[in-house]
């Protein structure tokens, strides 16, 4: 159950819902429609990791959890973004662990790292201080503007049907990072919803509608990477738009699996399948014992 938790901050929420409670019956570890049609054996985890890595081109400082986002950053270091570095919520920067970390607080991240900051530095100077280019988050629910819920499922906040882990540092990542990449293993109407049960981490449009408080510094969610395709949004009031589907996925299916009337880009593309060299890096160099690739 647990070592598969990967996403990040606040968003072991997604692990929670995926693992046991809310959203059973997904595709983790199975071949995707895309990979089947491509005739290869690319797993859902590999697909999401490769596309997360490619989206990091041009970025330098990434706030990420262990597991899939860490793998994605490692792959990006070997491919599209040689200088990209991870900052972990535990305060570690520039980690060079000999094996994959089991969590963001795994002590194996410390020997050989560039720095270990106390949490005051991480939350005040790095996140609130707007030093992060991209933050990876997961969530139990996302809406059309990229607002995220990692707190609870149900209508009664005091007695929710399913209580999730809560924010952790997700709110601060959303507010402080220049942009957020959301990785969702299962694209379903239960996770891509018209209305969140709880807005844990608001995007800038939602924040602007509120009465008080500092406006977030970042653009909110700019990329959503799922087992079906990729959605993007860039302007504050812009909705998520389906800009690419994985090979073999019908855009109409993505719309059906989304709880709102998902916009589809007129110029929608088909993603390029993971290349042999990307897969070789993941399988032979970065996660040879398949702790996270599953």
């Amino acid at each position: 159950m647990t070592l598969s938790a990967h996403d990040t901050i606040g968003a072991q929420a997604r692990e929670e819902t995926a693992g046991s409670e809310a959203a059973r019956g997904g595709a983790a570890g199975s071949e995707t429609a895309a990979s089947k049609s491509a005739g290869s054996q690319v797993t859902s985890s590999e697909l999401l990791t490769v596309h997360s890595a490619r989206a990091l081109a041009g970025r330098n400082v990434v706030f990420a959890g262990h597991g899939l986002p860490t793998l994605a950053v490692s792959l990006a270091q070997h491919t599209v973004a040689p200088d990209v570095e991870i900052v972990y919520e535990s305060g570690v920067t520039g980690a060079r662990p000999p094996v994959m970390p089991r969590s963001i607080s795994d002590s194996i991240l410390v020997p050989g790292a560039a720095s270990v900051m106390p949490m005051t530095h991480l939350f005040n100077y790095v996140l609130q201080g707007q030093r992060i280019d991209v933050g990876f988050l997961g969530a139990a629910q996302v809406d059309r503007y990229g607002n995220l819920n990692s707190t609870l499922i149900g209508e009664d906040w005091e007695h929710p049907d399913s209580r999730l882990p809560g924010s952790g540092g997700a709110i601060e990542a959303m507010a402080g990072a220049a942009e957020i990449f959301l990785v969702m293993r299962r694209h379903t109407p239960r996770t891509f919803v018209e209305s969140l049960d709880f807005v844990t981490s608001p995007g800038p449009k939602k924040a602007a509608e509120a009465k008080a408080g500092a406006m977030p510094a970042g653009a909110g969610v700019t990329h959503v990477i799922t087992d079906l395709g990729i959605m993007t949004r860039f302007a504050r009031d812009e909705e998520l738009t389906l800009t690419a589907v994985h090979p073999g996925v019908d855009p109409a299916e993505v719309v059906r699996q989304t709880g709102w009337n998902l916009k589809v880009s007129p110029g929608i593309e088909t993603t390029q399948p993971p290349t042999p060299s990307e897969l070789a890096l993941l399988r032979e160099t970065l996660d040879p014992t398949r702790i996270y690739l599953r």
Partner: protein, 304 residues
């Protein structure tokens, strides 16, 4: 002044029923042995402050020590759910739990205000979050310098803070390395402070590397040596994390009766942390062994 003390005496001296107690440590150097001693002594109506929850939160809840929780992440780290905690929140089973919820940034700000003896701390991240709607303690105030309103969170000053560290001298100068979390701020914010450590070292060892000291002696009320006091969490340079233990807890705690049985057998049924560890089996800790990785000493210099 020698502040060393046994764990039983330190807890009974500095904790009272109804106190707010902070147990901090972010998946590393966590005062687990101290939490177990709180259970053994049967304290009740405590409010626990703990940013990132873990097995000790379920255990303190199961032992009926807590009436409230102040936290920002309530899963069992990456090991799954804390089911005793979820039963309390989702079903008020066996009774409701007062839960004062923040984000990690909010908890950091609360401890900083508490350590600084300020009434509150501004924070920039809550605009538009339902967390601010759910928790009336998250307020917004005008910026007296002309900017837009800003959210603030109240100071957190626990009656007692407890942290764990690698080592201290007998006076209470505490040295820690690896991931340091919010321990220094929690220590200064506490009205009283107990530090549990893996070992007591000679004062000369501390003084050879004063930058390694995260809490100076004048803040500390009691120093308790308690080897493996952080298990199942790691202590950098001493032992690794016991992920299997944490995962097994998340499986076990699905059954409320199993939680009660575990607490009876492993906490109330043992006299102290040494007995707790012994009951896990002499070979239990082999998989937590680590190899050495020393830093290069720095030159502090001296006047020629």
């Amino acid at each position: 002044m020698d502040k060393t003390m046994g764990l039983r005496q330190a807890i009974s001296t500095y904790l009272s029923d109804g106190d707010t107690v902070a147990l901090e440590g972010f998946g590393h150097i966590v005062p687990v042995a101290a939490a177990h001693e709180i259970i053994r002594q049967g304290f009740t109506d405590l409010v626990l402050a703990r940013m990132s929850c873990d097995v000790i939160v379920d255990q303190l809840l199961g032992a009926n020590c807590l009436k409230g929780l102040i936290s920002s992440f309530i899963a069992n780290s990456s090991a799954g759910s804390l089911h005793e905690l979820r039963r309390r929140i989702e079903k008020s089973d066996p009774e409701p739990l007062w839960f004062d919820e923040y984000s990690h940034g909010g908890m950091v700000a609360r401890y900083q205000a508490g350590a600084s003896k300020l009434p509150f701390q501004p924070i920039a991240s809550y605009r538009g979050s339902d967390l601010a709607a759910k928790n009336p303690q998250i307020k917004s105030v005008p910026d007296p310098y002309g900017g837009p309103d800003i959210h603030v969170v109240p100071a957190l000053n626990p009656d007692l803070s407890i942290i764990h560290a690698q080592r201290a001298d007998r006076h209470g100068n505490v040295q820690a390395w690896g991931m340091l979390g919010i321990q220094t701020e929690a220590a200064f914010a506490g009205r009283r402070l107990i530090v549990t450590v893996e070992e007591i070292v000679d004062e000369a060892v501390i003084r050879s590397d004063p930058n390694r000291t995260i809490v100076p002696a004048h803040v500390v009320d009691a120093v308790v040596v308690i080897p493996r006091g952080s298990h199942p969490h790691s202590v950098q340079g001493y032992y690794d994390r016991d992920d299997e233990f944490s995962r097994q807890w998340s499986a076990l705690a699905r059954d409320a009766g199993a939680v009660q049985n575990w607490i009876e057998a492993h906490i109330r049924g043992t006299n102290d942390h040494d007995e707790f560890l012994a009951a896990l089996g002499s070979d239990h800790f082999e998989r937590m062994a680590i190899h050495d990785a020393y830093s290069t000493p720095v030159n502090y210099g001296g006047r020629a």
